[in-house]
């Protein structure tokens, strides 16, 4: 399962695993579930904001700041990188760049979700210690 970690998730995800223990066995999954919920809301809001004419770059930047924050908190490295790029386009007032980057972001996010779902399935079968990105 280390391939799930490489590239998509960074050390922050390992930190989350470290915060999990027998008393809090579902901590990682709880955090990730919150992340899915938060992300779904943000993606919807960003989509709506991207449909406006003219684009409100401040609003877009603010939404993406939140998305970047939560992605960073769970270690979603690639999604976070797209958020950063998106914000650069916002600051440059480049609407096309924003839209393009957002499409890429959604792809990365979808891939991440699949990886995480596989991770949790495996964790349920063999136990989190075996699944952990870093051997305990």
């Amino acid at each position: 399962m280390t391939t799930a970690c490489k590239g998509f998730l960074d050390e922050q995800f390992l930190q989350l695993e470290e915060l999990q223990d027998d008393a809090n066995p579902n901590f990682v999954e709880e955090v990730v579930t919150l992340y899915y919920r938060d992300s779904a809301r943000l993606i919807l809001n960003i989509e709506q904001a991207l449909e406006r004419n003219p684009l409100d770059f401040n609003k877009l930047d603010s939404l993406m700041h939140q998305f970047k924050g939560s992605s960073s908190s769970i270690g979603a490295k690639k999604v976070k990188a797209e958020c950063t790029l998106f914000r650069e386009y916002c600051r440059a007032g480049n609407g096309e760049g924003c839209i393009r980057t957002f499409q890429q972001l959604k792809k990365e996010y979808a891939t991440l979700k699949k990886k995480l779902e596989a991770y949790f399935q495996l964790a349920r079968q063999v136990g989190p210690a075996e699944t952990a990105c870093r051997p305990k």
Partner: protein
């Protein structure tokens, strides 16, 4: 309930992000802190017993922070970027409050902006953590909380024991500068008799002692 609470430091964590609140709560609990989380600066102030229209009254002596709080808070850790009241605004309000300004405040931010960090530290923040916050960051918190706890205990015990302490000191005939709260002027440090004791008690007027509290509360 409050007895158990006394043995652990109590941290108030402020963050508008649900994920980050969950994370910081877990980090703090693992570090053996008692935790309360709120999602905004105004809720934090409410919890601390300070309402936004409250002005800190300079006439009013600042004694123990527990005057205004229902629960003792030993440290406040807050996100910088929040809608409405930012972490910086919250920091300012806390430092402007005579009842809260002794509580150490730590700022967290996902953005590494040197001018932001400087501004917060200048305003009185003890530390500035970059997000995502790590367990190792939290190890730096205990010393800041120890300072406050000791100070608070000193204030409380001094309040209660003021009279007794002065009596003991006069009996020991000490010249120690130890207790700055001792109101005994040099000439009274003689073998005690009832007259002297009375003089000392009379010396313990609020006017004399209160200013000393203020001295202590401003020492960091």
């Amino acid at each position: 309930m409050s007895i158990a609470a006394d043995s652990k430091f109590h941290v108030l964590a402020v963050d508008d992000s649900l994920i980050d609140r969950k994370l910081i709560e877990r980090l703090l609990k693992i570090s053996s802190f008692q935790v309360t989380t709120v999602d905004s600066g105004s809720k934090a102030l409410e919890f601390l017993g300070l309402h936004e229209d409250d002005q800190s009254n300079p006439e009013k002596p600042s004694v123990s922070p527990n005057n205004h709080q229902e629960v003792e808070v030993n440290l406040i850790i807050t996100d910088y970027c929040m809608p409405g009241m930012s972490g910086y605004d919250l920091l300012k309000k806390i430092k402007e409050s005579s009842s809260l300004r002794n509580i150490p405040v730590v700022i967290m931010s996902s953005e590494n902006v040197p001018s932001r960090i400087t501004r917060c530290l200048q305003e009185g923040a003890e530390e500035f953590f970059l997000k995502p916050v790590q367990l190792s960051d939290l190890n730096r918190l205990k010393p800041h909380m120890m300072k406050t706890k000791v100070k608070t205990q000193n204030q409380e015990s001094n309040e209660i024991q003021l009279v007794e302490k002065s009596e003991i000191q006069s009996q020991l005939q000490q010249q120690q500068p130890q207790s700055p709260l001792s109101p005994t002027p040099p000439q009274q440090q003689q073998p005690p008799n009832n007259n002297k004791r009375k003089a000392m008690e009379e010396g313990l007027s609020p006017d004399r002692t209160r200013p000393r509290y203020n001295d202590i509360t401003t020492v960091v």
